[in-house]
């Protein structure tokens, strides 16, 4: 393995013990591995939203676009459409991608743009110091809902399945090996891939023990089977106390948006003559 630690000059400002470290360490390893085996490092672009999660791009010495809250996905799409040879990875928060910018996620999935979206799903807004998010359970007492929320969470994976995403998985910051496998697969998957990571926020929502007890890895599951994927995704609704499956729920081969995009030979030289030609038709 490469000796590149991928560190930057940025001091890490996550809370000690934060689940984001697992994502950071995992992605660094995976990037190192992939850059040796598959694709040089300079072809990777990381894109992030705003939240604790977003800081990750500051911590990895790879091309990046630190965008705005909820909007990392369309940026990633633009980059990929500009150059389909790039590997574009979005890091987004649950408030960020399942709330503020949910629409973009759905359309990126529908288009099957070949990007990878990794959700740091701590099931709250952490950087703004503790409010409920679209995946907080019913009754969650954040600072904007001190008496508990009165709306149930979304099941983002169910939504993504309905949006025709072609790779859907769930990992957890507790299981680094699985996480790395999923990152790797998602990045290598040709098409829109989303990994929902149950990322423990030790400060505001320490579900470490809860998850330890509830998560299990999917076995004998056929990710090619839509109905099976649907059932597995619905086993846990982000609200009840059910068992929480981890692993790949769904995977499908389908042509990507970029592949179908018309690309015309960039014939810059003849630009002037083409303008003239157009004008002559209007004479």
């Amino acid at each position: 393995m490469s000796q590149n630690n991928l560190n930057t000059s940025a001091p890490n400002t996550w809370c000690p013990g934060c689940g984001n470290f697992a994502i950071l360490n995992g992605i660094k390893k995976v990037l190192n591995e992939l850059s040796e085996e598959v694709c040089p490092l300079e072809k990777f672009v990381l894109v992030s939203g705003i939240g604790c999660h977003g800081k990750i791009v500051d911590y990895v010495n790879v091309n990046s676009f630190y965008s705005i809250h909820g909007r990392s996905v369309p940026v990633a799409e633009g980059i990929k459409m500009a150059n389909s040879g790039l590997k574009v990875i979005c890091f987004a928060g649950d408030g960020d991608a399942y709330g503020e910018g949910l629409e973009h996620l759905i359309f990126a999935a529908k288009r099957n743009v070949d990007i990878t979206v990794i959700i740091h799903n701590n099931r709250l807004y952490s950087l703004t110091a503790f409010q409920y998010s679209p995946t907080s359970p019913l009754g969650f007492k954040g600072r904007s809902t001190p008496n508990g929320t009165i709306e149930p969470p979304l099941n983002p994976l169910e939504l993504m399945l309905a949006s025709q995403a072609t790779y859907l998985a769930r990992g957890s910051s507790l299981k680094l090996d699985l996480l790395m496998r999923l990152f790797r697969e998602a990045i290598m998957h040709k098409g829109f891939a989303l990994v929902d990571v149950l990322q423990v926020c030790v400060t505001f929502n320490n579900l470490y023990e809860y998850y330890s007890k509830h998560v299990y890895e999917l076995e004998n599951h056929d990710p090619g089977n839509f109905q099976a994927a649907f059932n597995a995704i619905r086993e846990w609704d982000y609200n009840s106390d059910a068992r929480i499956p981890l692993g790949v729920f769904y995977q499908k081969e389908a042509p990507t948006f970029e592949d179908k995009m018309m690309s015309f030979p960039a014939d810059i030289e003849s630009k002037d003559s083409k303008i003239k030609e157009f004008l002559s038709k209007r004479m």
Binding site: T8, I68, A76, E77, G78, A82, A266
Partner: protein
Amino acid sequence: MRDFSILIGGKAGSGIDKSTLILGDLLNQSGYRVYIYRDYPSLIRGGHTFSIIRASQTKIAAHRDKIDFLLALNKETLDLHLTKLSGDGKVICDVELLKEAALPVQTMTLGVPIVKFVKEENAPEVMRNTCLIGAFAKAIGIKIELLEKILKKNFGKSIDVNIKIAKKGYDASVVMESIRLPAQDALPLISGSQAICLGLIKGGLQVYVSYPMTPTTPLLHFFAEQANDFSLKVIHPESELGVILMALGFAYAGQKTAVGTSGGGFCLMTESLSLSGMSEVPAVIVLGQRPGPSTGLPTYSSQSDLNFALYAGQGEFVRFVVAPGDLEEAYYWSACALNLAWKYQIPSIILTDKNLNEGIGNFDVNETGEIKEDNPYLWDGTTDYHRYADSKTGISPMAFVPEKNAVIKVSGYEHDELGITTEDAAVTKKMQDKRLRKEKYLIEELKSFPTVKTYGDDKQTTALLCWGSNKGVCVELAQTLGLKVIQPLVLSPFPEHAFKEAMRGIKKLIAVEDNATGQLARLVKIYGIAVDDTILKYDGRPFTLDELEEKVKEKIS
């Protein structure tokens, strides 16, 4: 006739648009210069729509109150526009319609059995237009050969029936007033939207991203149609939020990208406009104005988003804002706006409006001025790459992914030279200074551009101050009245120096604007320029020459 106007009207969806183009073409090919104003409501079929086609010996970009030929496809057109008929104005329409309408006896009319002819040929209703055009062509003495040639250019498979019907109209018509044919070559007849598109292409456009919104929808349609010819990627995403963020993604990856929208969509882009300012990822926005607030009058025109364009987005950053006033300027400045966005790594706004975008006129590509194709300032690879390296001009060398020896990090957070987030007071100030410093050099560079234009001579002491699509009407009127016109094109960074030059000797300045508060008048006050009077119009319609003449005379008398 040296200068005359035709109004053609009917129900929306009944073919007025196409007829307008054919009439324009007919006059263009006859050696006239042409200007077309299109008036249509926000609906698809049934409401009243009309066009005014004005023909003149010299280039024009305004229309008049009085109509010389009224071509009516329905009674509503007669009802609504008859009062606009000039003293010896003529009405051409279906003969039955004429009977029904019972026009004043003195009106010169020509009735043709249009409906009957179309029925006889079993042709669709929309071909009544062709018949009417045939009748009109004869009425002004145009040769049948020219008419045929132009119809051929404009119709595909239905050409035979169209020619047949046109001829019937032609034959049933009489020469009412033979026009003199000016001896000059035709010039291409294009819309403002097309001029902007071609200008962007000229400037090196590679990608266009847009969500449809009047009055910039025609740009999206044009680019989508022409994508192949001009090697463009054209994307229509889920919303304007998606539009501008995708565009920033494209630009980050090195592709010259523009977006187009109007007020409401621009609102949704403001957060990313600010992101462009901070991240220094260039953005080019075509902002087509229409009357607001909110949805307002979606298919009409306005100049009420100047202030918004100047100050949209949180925080302070350099932006380029330009408001072209005619087709040549639209072409020239669209190319420049793209180039300057990339040279200075800033957002550029091309501020236009429905009148400019949908107005059609003669375009002379040789009169646009020379367009310098500046390459952006690129990293030469000899030093470690710092995306935001500080520099004398504030401009940092660009590099684009993938670049083997560079890690390219951009950010909307305050950041250091490498693009890593900072909250340090000194670094914050340094980086903000770096970004804002670019304006100084941009102002310097713009001194060699025609940022403020004047018309008329230096002895004149009264001037009309106008911007954008009011140029045409102001310049033409000022010639008649012997006034000067001052037209700032660049509105940010404001060309203070050039503007003050233009003001030399002016004792009275009258601002002419399509808004209710005089936004340009307000802007120039910041530079110590007092505007003595304003002529404001905000009903969505452009000034006609005559209307403006009356208002200006009041102000200068």
